[in-house]
Amino acid sequence: MIVAERKPMEEILAMTEEFDRILVLGCKGCTTVCCAGGSREVEELATLIRMNRKQKGKTVDTLEASTELQCEPESVTPVLERLANQYDVVLSMACGAGVQTVVKVLPDLRVLPALNTNFIGVAEEHGVWTEVCLACGNCILGRTGGICPVTRCSKQLLNGPCGGSMNGKCEISKDVDCAWQLIIDRLKELGELELLEEVFPVKDWSAGWHGGPQKIVREDLKS
């Protein structure tokens, strides 16, 4: 899923200061699963904004709502239409894709991001999320025992590990596993370690963002 985190309160309060009617819009997709922008977090943020305003002796009207998938205009439009004219700004608690979809649906209003979108990742355990995919457009998971070196190796080595790998940890931090140690261990288990004796060729980065902002068109699906 896409993993995001709420921006520091300071930043959110500063960006919403000038508005008196705020729609706090959560998403029932990824940001619910990573506990950053679901309906619970919407309630929390809206409450904190109201409490902060009260402290300053001012008032603010907050609306709390959530879309199914904020990255789908069909999920966004009905929610916004139902609440039309009751807010001056949308404070989105979805990922960057959600925020930009709301902008598309509502080109005349300000839409602000309450979250920082961090990565494509998984939950290691409840409350701990790690980055595992960089959407490079050229998946090599079949050759690395299912562990992605493009994302999980800090230097994106395809012929790792580097000389900084110690005790299975990456040189940048003891909290980061050395992806190549994981790959070697896994391939050893699978009896496929010889896969690593060949020099892995250079990567075609143009298959992903480095080739320009990506677009996929399916002619068979277009109306």
Binding site: K155, Q156, C162, G163, G168, D185, L196, V199
Partner: protein
């Protein structure tokens, strides 16, 4: 001869090589490089110039190499893949070749998080092994990595780093084999403090016949204080400094003398290891000790081939 460099000639003649290292300044003064060069000139077959080492911005390695060349010292151009993509790497290789630089060391580079610009984007377009392969293709096939022809020669002796102490231990030799098959003509290892483990690693290297396909130079870092020993043991990833060494430095009456003694002992041990074709000294902030080490280790005068 692949490059015709002095280092290549010494290694190919079967003599024990001795290379040094020079870190460029965080500034623009040529003297900062050339002073170190003068110290190392008579006792080293070639001198490495580091490339934004530990991700701290310094004068570029290419410039440092030219400054050394100016005073008659043969340089080894260190290049990391952290800061340049394949376009810039190939361009710099062509430029270095045009300027008469003949040795290159292809490295990954310490992660930018460690350095003084931790918010910078790390490039890592290709890795160090792909880089070695790329330079070999440029040299032997006169081709860029995209297959296009290069006009003119690209005569480089290609080097790589190896760390006998990093994990996973059993895989290090496979990785070395990859570097050799990719085209590494010489290897400079990380600083050796734990000699028995290095000997163990060399045995695995010899079992694969790698010592006959590439020239391995054992790395040496002279220690001048117990603080330095401790720091390297605890803070530098990839270094293996045994506790006994730290204790030895702590108990020493004259730490610098002890440091020199340890170097000389290590050199004598390394001379005995089959497959070790030389020493690479990294005398960080202590370049002036290198001539003495070379002298007392019986490595002077340097061969003229």
């Amino acid at each position: 001869m692949k490059s015709g460099s002095n280092l290549e000639r010494v290694l190919e003649s079967g003599q024990f090589a001795f290379t040094g290292e020079c870190g460029p300044p965080k500034g623009t003064a040529p003297k900062a490089v050339q002073k170190k060069g003068e110290l190392l000139k008579s006792c080293c077959d070639a001198v490495n110039v580091t490339d934004n080492q530990t991700a701290i911005v310094r004068m570029s390695s290419l410039a440092g190499c030219m400054l050394l060349k100016e005073i008659g010292v043969e340089p080894v151009l260190q290049m990391v893949v952290r800061d340049r993509n394949r376009l810039a790497l190939q361009a710099d290789i062509l430029g270095a070749a045009a300027l008469g630089i003949r040795n290159v060391l292809c490295l990954s580079g310490d992660h930018q998080k460690f350095g003084n610009h931790p918010t910078a984007k790390g490039v890592y377009d290709i890795d160090s092994i792909q880089f070695i392969q790329m330079v070999k293709t440029m040299r032997d096939e006169h081709k860029f990595i995209n297959g296009e022809e290069i006009s003119g020669d690209v005569p480089f002796l290609i080097g790589a780093a190896a760390n006998p102490y990093a994990d996973p231990f059993e895989f290090r030799v496979i990785r070395l084999a990859k570097k050799v098959s990719a085209g590494a003509d010489f290897i400079q290892t990380q600083g050796i403090f734990d000699v028995p483990k290095f000997v163990e690693w060399m045995k695995m290297v010899r079992d694969r016949g790698l010592h006959e396909k590439t020239h391995i130079l054992g790395g040496l870092i002279p220690i001048k204080s117990v603080g330095m020993a401790r720091y390297m043991r605890n803070n530098v990833s990839g270094l293996s400094v045994p506790k006994e060494l730290v204790d030895r430095m702590a108990d020493a009456k004259d730490p610098k003398e002890e440091g020199v003694k340890i170097c000389l002992e290590t050199i004598e041990q390394l001379k005995e290891v089959e497959g070790v074709h030389g020493i690479h000294v990294m005398a960080v902030a202590w370049e002036d000790i290198v001539p003495r080490i070379a002298e007392e280790a019986g490595l002077m005068p340097r061969p003229v081939v």
